[in-house]
Structures are given as structure tokens and as C-alpha cells.
Symmetry: D3
Subunit: 248 residues, 6 copies
């Protein structure tokens, strides 16, 4: 069966047809930021793209939705002191989100999913969904890999012994990369003695917690577990996207 469609791969005429059919427009947002000594800078977008590829296979051509190309840059001020991190300012990311929606509204798209693979984008895009709803009268849903408990169940299943929070470049991300892009994964560092936080959310820098940039314990990861996490993520995302695609 053919895959669910992507804007990049279809001609304008098919986009017009799908807008008329009330298709979901799915906008993936990643990041380019340090992921510890063992994972590449592009981890967030690479993982997201792999999950989307899996979803497109599973959802198939009949899916009433369309995937936009992934924005491979995100808001990452917390990692800017590590080389290679590129951070969009909050205002730039809001402008880009606005441009995506405003452009497609002209063509009749009315329902959007911001499919976000970077924790640092989540709150901003969740907040802005309200502004876009009010400005353009469109539905904007937030599907966040790192938020809303997306990985909660599978973590409980595959890492029953996990004792640290999975914040950044820890076991879930490491395992996913080991499965999906093993040639890009280096030697997994030991868990560090992380300095404590304060009970309240606050604006941290990665180096507050760890000199390596890893926040959590990556040592439980391996490729087999990565595959399980990956399959769970694809299934879960498909479930959410299918529900939206028929919910109107």
C-alpha cells in the first residue's frame, strides 16, 4: 500500500484536493542541539523523521492528512553553550509557525497538527496554538514526543529499573538512535551525578545538570529496546493522528 502523503512529494493540485477534503496538515518541528558525547546534534529531527516515516507507512494513502517537511531547527537556548547547537529565538519560531498556518489557510486547510520532537519547542507551540486558533479560525493540535506522557507507558515497560528522569540524551533517545541510526551513536557515557533542581519549573541550561550535556541516565539503552520504543511510538502517533483525521 502507498504511504500517507507528504507535501514535498505531491503536486499543488493534489494539495488543493486534500484541502477540499478537510485533510490534516501535520507540521513536524525538530531541533539541532547537543545530545551529549554520544548522540548527534540532529537527534531530535532524526528520530522524529523516522517516526514519521513509520507513520506514513502504517497510515497509508487513505489517511486524510498530509505531512509537511520537518523544521530541523528549534528553540534551544538551554544548549547554546555546546558547540553546534542552533537556536531559533522564540519570536522566530512563532513567526515560522504563523507563516506555515497563514499560507495553508489560503488554500483551505483548516486543521493542523504540530508534531514536535523537541522538548524545548513544546510549551511555545502549545501556547501559540491558541493564538493561531483565534487569528485564523483553525484547529491546531499539539502532538509532542516529549510532553503529555507520550513515552510514559513504554518507559515503564522497557526500563522498569529507571531511577532518573528522562530529560535529555538519556535512555529513550539513546535507544532510539541505536536502533534507527546505529552508525551515528558513540560510546554511551555512564550516568552522571546530576545536580538537583528546585521543585519549580525554571529556565535551566544543560550545564546546570551535567558537564556532558546528558540529563538522565543513558546507560540502560540498547538497540533492541530502541526498536520496541520506536514501534510503540509509531503506533501511538498513528492512533492519535487517525483519531484526529476522522474526528471532524
Amino acid at each position: 500500500m502507498a504511504k500517507a502523503r507528504a507535501f514535498q512529494e505531491i503536486p499543488s493540485s493534489m494539495a488543493a484536493q486534500m484541502a477540499a477534503d478537510g485533510a490534516l496538515a501535520v507540521w513536524p518541528a525538530g531541533a539541532l542541539e547537543q545530545h551529549g558525547p554520544h548522540l548527534p546534534l540532529g537527534t531530535d529531527a532524526l528520530v522524529l523523521d523516522a517516526i514519521i516515516a513509520g507513520c506514513r507507512e502504517e497510515l497509508g494513502e487513505g489517511f486524510n492528512g498530509l505531512f509537511l517537511p520537518t523544521l530541523c531547527y528549534g528553540k534551544s537556548p538551554e544548549h547554546l553553550n555546546f558547540a553546534g547547537t542552533v537556536s531559533l529565538r522564540a519570536e522566530t519560531l512563532l513567526s515560522a509557525a504563523n507563516d506555515v498556518v497563514r499560507s495553508l489557510v489560503r488554500h483551505g486547510f483548516k486543521r493542523f497538527v504540530f508534531f514536535n520532537g523537541h522538548g524545548g519547542n513544546a510549551a511555545l507551540l502549545q501556547s501559540y496554538a491558541f493564538d493561531l486558533r483565534a487569528e485564523y479560525d483553525v484547529q491546531v493540535y499539539n502532538l509532542d514526543l516529549w510532553g503529555g506522557g507520550f513515552f510514559r507507558e513504554i518507559i515503564a515497560e522497557v526500563f522498569p529499573a529507571l531511577t532518573m528522569k528522562e530529560v535529555h540524551a538519556a535512555s529513550v533517545e539513546t535507544a532510539l538512535m541505536q536502533y534507527l541510526y546505529p552508525h551515528l551513536v558513540g560510546k554511551v557515557p555512564p550516568r552522571g551525578e546530576l545536580k538537583g533542581s528546585d521543585g519549580l519549573r525554571h529556565g535551566w541550561l544543560a550545564e546546570d545538570f551535567s558537564p556532558t550535556g546528558v540529563i538522565g541516565d543513558p546507560s540502560l539503552a540498547n538497540a533492541e529496546v530502541g526498536e520496541r520504543i520506536y514501534r510503540d511510538a509509531v503506533a501511538r502517533a498513528c492512533g492519535l493522528l487517525r483519531a484526529l483525521a476522522v474526528s471532524e
Copy 2:
């Protein structure tokens, strides 16, 4: 005992002294937005100001922190179709937050709390705390009344029979207003048959859920319960603020 200090009430020389002493600068952010047929537009800021007044009493003059005046406007696009709602654009709220921090950094303030009383501000201010940390090398903590489970325990205690989510103008807000500002509270509407949401976060409008603007069930509220919630909120906020004030 004298109250914890407020910027509005002290001369510049004392602000200089407190900056030198490493004082916390607490910035309260409210909103002006519809709160159903029974609560006033200013509910968020009024409740926040009452909690801050309680905190200032309880923390006392020895508290190494200072309260900024409340921003009585917030980001409320979800309520803009109800008269009297004033919504700052996301960019305006970010600019204001930036101006507050940038101004006080000049004087040596290094630690900030964004004490937020409006759910619609929370994600944006949480996200921007990271940008401010990276731009000005300051600590920005987010103390959100509507987020992070601030009211979770007291709700379980005072509303054991609660069956709907407390989203907007429901029992907690109603009870707090009945206790704090009874003359501003009208007849409490019955719980409505709320239309369902979609499982994912999304950018909603208040009218998606309820024609009255109430999202939840306000019918459990009364002033005595309001007092219990209020005392719990003051105690909880004081606990968090005290921990920060000594945590450096």
C-alpha cells in the same frame, strides 16, 4: 511584623540594597478575561493579588525577595470572543517579560520568579524562562497557580466529589472569589454539558466547550471552601518562595 517588601512601596535605594543581597524579584502576571456569567473579568489578577498579599504577610520583612506589581493583562486569545477580554499577543507578553528582566539585571538582580495566575500565560512564560536564562544569565523560576499541580492536593481534599476537570471559572476560582471578593460574585451557574476535547492539547476557544464560558463545574464552590483553598495556596506559595530565597 512588617510584610515582605514590594518594589512599588520601597525607594530605589532599598532596591539597590536588596539586589546586592541577592534578593528574588517576583513578577506576578494575571489576565483580564471572561470568567463565566458569575465571576468578574479580573478574577485571575484579583486572586493572584490576594495570594500575594497573604504571602507578604506570612513571609514577613525578613524575606529576601521583592514583589513587582502585577501585570493585570495576559495572553487570552481563547476568550477574545467574550466581551471585556483583553489579550496581549504572545510577542507583547514576551517583550514585557524581557523588559522586566533586562531592566533589573542592570541593578544586579539575578534571580526571578514569574508568579503566574493565568493558565494561558503559563506555557509561554515557562518557555521564555530558558531564553532569559541564556540571554541575561539569570535564574527565572515559574510558579504557576494553574499548572504543576499547585491546587491538586487541596482539590482532592475540599472537592472529593469533583467529577470534571477544573479548567476555567469552575469550583476553585469560584470558591476563592466567594471568599475573597464576595461582592463581585454573581449567581453560580449550573455545570454545563461540556463538549468533549480530543485527547491532545490543542488551541481551543472557550466557546468550544461551553456557551457560558465556564469550563468545568462551579457548583461545588462556597466561601468556606474558598478560605481553605486560599490558606492552602498562601502556605504552598510561601513554601516555594522561601525555598528559593535560601536556595542560592
Copy 3:
């Protein structure tokens, strides 16, 4: 008799009704900035709020107007070198003014008063009133405490011996604070030997004139005079607001 209404204290439904009745929306703008060694940082907003409280009493419930909550921050670059001053950039203040008007225009409000208690906001808000008129087709009036001679007559009456210009933290402000908030007023400093200006308006810093931040002579102030000034201010503001409320 009940007071003139405030947005913060009424439900959305009453705001809708008053918009339909052509009510004035009054937006008060203050500041948080140094006011010499004897007055608190919040002087501008504190005085403004007291005058508005007096106006609300005097105008009564029959007044066809509504008071918005005070913006307690203003544009104060001239005081930024004194600790505790928070200055909004010009662009931020314009954005906030735009957001207030744009929000309320949706609900049918057509007539606004920018009731400004900080000299540093006056020119900017006066100028922007034209832009708002043209953009939204609304009337925006500027009622400035520090501009347009608001205090001119009462100064001539209560300070006949005044020989210096009342620019900042001088006798009018000191007297008002001594009457309204005596517990927040410190020892009044002597008049300083102020350095001269240049005949033209220019962008000054407070320290150009005085190391204490006082620009003028506060030594004539006392609480009784403060009361006379206050009563005059309330009466004068009520006169202007009443004239607008019936002038359509």
C-alpha cells in the same frame, strides 16, 4: 451610591452591555521608577490608582465608562540607572496599547481614554492615539497628569512660592504621597542645586539634573497640601471624563 465600574470587577456580560451603550474604556498607565530617596518606586501608579479610586466614587455607577486595570509599568529609560526602575521599551508600550484597543474593538468599544500617570509615557501615548484612530477607527483621548497643565492651577494655589519646575519627585508628588500613603514616604530631601538644561527638549537622564533623582524642590510638600491637590485632581479628572462620557 455605587462606584463607577471597573473591568476587573464586572462579568463579561456587563462589559458587553456597556460596549453596546457606547461606554468609554479608560486605560490607566503608570510606571515603576525611582522617585528620589524619599518616595517609593511605584509612586506614579500609586497616585494614579488613588485618583482613579476617587473618581470612581465621585462618578458613581451612572457613569457611562469603565476603568481598565492599571498598567504599573511604563517607559522610563531616563531612570534606568537607578535601582528598581523597570522600563518598557517604546515598542513594547505601543504593542500593549495596541493590544488593549484591538481586543476591545472586537466587543464594540469605540471610545478610549489613556489615563496616564507617568510623564515619560505621555508623548508616546499621545502620538500613538493617532495611529490607533486611523487603524481601528476609534477615538483615543489622552488624559495626562503630567502634561497639558493638569496640576497648573492647583500648584499656583498651594505652592505660590514655588521657584523650580515640578519635574520629578518634587513637591506635588511628595505631597500627594504624604497624604495618600504616608507610611511609604521617607525624609524629604532638601532642594538640590540642579544643573541647567538647554532650552530645547532633549532626552535626559535623571542623573543629569540631580544625584538624588529628585528634579525640582520637594521641600514645600506636606500632607494637608497633598489632600488639596488630590481633591483637585479627582475633581478635574471627573470633569474631563464626564465631558467625554456625554460628548458623543
Copy 4:
């Protein structure tokens, strides 16, 4: 004797020398906006340029100051409903002023005069002078033709019978244009019955006062009077500029 210098007419090396000598940088700002049925759209900039030409003659080469080219566009929302008016948004004009100052600060210029020939620019540029002072540590003076009583004395002298306020396209502007650019002046319209204002400053549109766009009584104007006004303006401006050039 050679004229006072203009940036447009000197090479970069001379600008460097004058910056080192502490020269004033004078930035003229005009407008392009309707001026009634009888005056051209460029009246503000044309009059300003003529006054500057006169000043450059009178001040001579020894003047320690330099004239920038005139910005022929200003903020004119109040005239936008008359054809040919071009209005810069407030934010655009602030950005341009910022760019001028920021550029020249790099070269050592420290003292600026905003020489403004359009009433609609005055408040904005006066206000922004403070921001520029604080941001770049430069002096910015405001020399406004339409503000600060620049024409007050000469009006009293040449138009003793004047009974209406000189707001726009009235006798002073008409007379100046009749003297300076007689070929651009059409038949002077009679004074109109102007609709009243409200006692407070507010954001008006020209058509509020007059269908012709004239606000005031242009009928007293003639070229001889225009010459007297012009000579007075040149002398007055030279006096102010000379005082600044030596005041450091």
C-alpha cells in the same frame, strides 16, 4: 563665506574629523501629507529644507555641526484618508531614528538634534530621544517647528488678528510657501467653520475638523509675511543650534 556642512556633501574623511571635534549631527524629519487644497503634499519637508538652507548660510563653515539629509516621510496617520499622504508607522520611524543614531555613534558622534518639521513626528521623536540617550549614551535634542512655541512670537507679530489655532495648512504654512515656493501654491481657501475638539489631546483625523484638510485659517497669509516668518525661523533655529554647538 562657505555654508555649514552637510553629510551629503562631504567625504567620509571630513565626517570623521568632525566627529572627533564633537560636532552636532542634525537630522531633519519632514512628512508627505495633504496640506489642504492649496498647498503641496511636500509642504513640511519643503519648508524645513528651506529653513535649513537658510541656517547653513547663516551659520557658515565654522559651525561645529553637520546636517543630515531630510527624511521626507513622517508619521501622518491623521491624513491618510487624503490621497498622496504617505505615513510611516510609529515603529518604522523609531527604527529609522535608531538606525541613524546607531550608525553615527560608531564614528564618534555623540550629540544629535532631531530637527523636525512635521507636527505629527514631534511627540514620538521627543519621547524616543530618551530611549536613545539611555541606549547609546548620546545627547538627542528636539528642535520642533511645530511645538515648543517656535513660531509663537512671530505669529503674534505678523498675524495680530489671528483668531484660530494654527494647526495645519493655515496661515503660517501658507505664507511660508507663498514666499518660498509661490509656484506650488494654489488659491487659498476661505477659513472653514471648524468642528470643535474636546479639551483633551486625542488622536484625530484631519477630516474631523474640516473637509478640505485645512485646520485653521489660511486667509491671512501672503508672501511678504511669509518672508518675515521665514527670516525669523532661520534666525531662531540658528540661535538654538549655535547654543548647542558650543554648549558642551
Copy 5:
């Protein structure tokens, strides 16, 4: 031999090392816009990515440069009336370019190539290279596929009979896509009778020239020619990049 490196695929530590070695940072910019009835919306980014993949193979690991992930969105107002086109506003694209450079300057990167695959981005990015040079003291080079005659020689060679200008979705793009992504290419439309332009550059819309969105004659394209164009493009781009990588 291993490929030239990509930011997405290396850990932060290697980015730090390459910054220290003076590596080029190559930022690819594409677009999402209509490409006639036969080519997909993502043509610009798809072609660019394929050329970059070829360059990475040919340049090899020894290349002192690093490829950033492709921005798959560009400035495309001229195609906004065709469904599926997403256009970033000029200001958004400038902000993104600024963010990329500003982020990497922190880590020591000093030399950038904006490798642009969309004609509509070219002038803007060329212009902004000057601003970035002046703001951050970095070198920014513009390598534009559609500008500077990149395809001129190969067009002369492979399409000697070409009689129309290659503007959009014509023979070069069609042939490249037929070779690189044949499954995404539909039936090639005949050349249209294009409406004439005006001799001067101007801001056109695609529909000014052609109802199909094709501007030029795609009918000469085939996959073999596409391969020749592709190989030429990779070789040419490698030549330019190698020259830059050693030119310091």
C-alpha cells in the same frame, strides 16, 4: 571514503573541533511551493538535498566544512495562490538566517555558505549576507543554484534548442526530478504560450505568466539529461565549496 560531515550527524564535540579548525558552515535553504502540474511541491529542497548528498560523497571526510540541515521552507509569495505553497515572510527568513549565524558564532564558526536552492530566496539572502558580515564579523558566501549562472553552461550543452528562459518548473528542474525522484514526477505539460514581462525586474505572481504555474518549457526534459545536469551541479558545487574551504 567517508562523507563530508553534517551537523545533524555529529556530536557537539566534533562541531567544537571543526569550529576550531576554521570549518565552513553550509546552510542549505529550499522552499515548499508549487512546481506546475507535474512536479512536487518540495522540488527545490529535494533537488538541493540530492546535490548536497552528492557533494558530501565527493568532498569526503577531509572536507573542512559541515552541512547544516536544509530549511525546507523559503520565501515564495509569488506562488501563494497555488495550493500547498508555504511562504515565509521576508522578516521570518532574515530572522532564521540571523539565528543560525548568531548561534554558531558563539562556538567559533566564522565562515558560512548559504547554499540556496530556491530562486525566491536568492536576492534576500545575498543582501542579508552583508548585514551578517557587519553584525557578526563573519564571512557569508552565497551559493545559489538559481542565480549567478550556476546552470548556464550545462543548459547550453544539454538543451541547445532551448528557446525559453528557465524560470520555474521547466526543463532543468523537470529533468533533475526525472533522474533523482522519477516516482514523484507526473506527465510533463506542453510549453505554454507565456505572457510577456516588462523588461524590468518586478514582483510577479506565477499566474501572471502561466495558468499551470510552469514558467518556461519543460518539454525538453528527460532522465538521462537530468543525470548529466545533476553530475555537473555536484561537480560545480564541489569546486566552489572546495575553493572556499581552502581559501582562508
Copy 6:
């Protein structure tokens, strides 16, 4: 015969009439930037204004177009290290262009020419013409003196021996200034040994090429040649403008 009209010189009523007649609105953009040791900072705007004056004579009153006043400032980051250069940020210049078009669109103008006399503005204004077309549905043409080969033919004719590229303050500009403004031209410097560029467009600074700020060889210039260039420029610009004025 009377000259072609200028906005500055006509009353609003005539602008209304010409908008109704479909007149072209011509917006000239110059710069204030170093032009070597021998030419004044205002060279770009001075030359442009002289060409426009010539065009207005030649086109005559019957020309269905109107000249706006020249913006004497442009985007010149590449010259900012030379004293007296004033550079508008890219965003400021875009905002100004937007304001000009948006203002005149209200009055019915539909066709614009950006007549640009500064190379550093060209790409930005060419690019933005597309955005303005899409936003306001107006035609924006770019007539650039330094781009599109405007001077190519005359250079071949008058400087057959020219061996260096005419980039900045070289023979064409020098000759034009010698003819048009001889009193503002200093001793022409010898051609310098210019440092090479890199084959690709890039963001340069003037000092990359030459310590004097001259980029090219000004030594071929003289006033007679300047007159020939000037007459050619006027004729060529008139040809282009006339073609546009009748092309609708």
C-alpha cells in the same frame, strides 16, 4: 513644457486624480555612505536626484506618473566602518517600503517603480517587490541604476579601456559627480591594488577591497564623460518609465 509631476509639489487633489488615472508612483531610494576620499557621502542620492530631475524635464507633464521624494538613506552595512555612513537595517528598509506602498494603495495607486540609486538596496528591494505584489496586489517594478546592466552600454562606449569592475566610487560615479556637482568632488585617487574576491557573491565590507573605500578605478573619469553618462542615464530611464506608464 512643464515637468513630470512630483508628489511633494502637488496638492492632495491632484494625487487623487492621478491615482484614478492609473499613474505610476515612482519611489527613489538612495544612500548615505562613504564614497572614497574624493566623493561625498551623499553621492548615490545626489546622482539619483539629478537623473530624476532630468527625467522629469524630458518626460514632461503628460507623463502618467508621479515621483515620490527620495529616501536619502539606504542599507549600507558594508560601509559602516567609514565615518558618516548611515545604514538602515534590512528590516527598517522593508518597513519603509511597505509603508509607502500601503499608504498609496489606500488612494488607488496600483503601480509602483522602486527607482534605486544604491547597489546595496537593489537585491532587498527586488526581493520585496514580490511580497508587496502578493500582499497588496500591486505591481512593483525595480529600476536599479546599479544592477540589470543599466550603465553597461555607456561604459563600453565611454570607458573602452576600463579594466576593473565598476563597484563603488569608481569612474562612472566619479564622472557623474564631476559633471553634476563639481564643487563636491575632491582629488581623484589613483586606482588601487584591489584584493581579490572569491568567485561567489558574499557579504563584503568595503575595506576588504581597498583601504580608501574605492572599489574599482576612478581615474578614467572626467566631467565631459560624466555628461555623456548622465544624458544616457536620463534617456534610458525615461525609456523604461515611459514603457511602464503605457504598458497597462
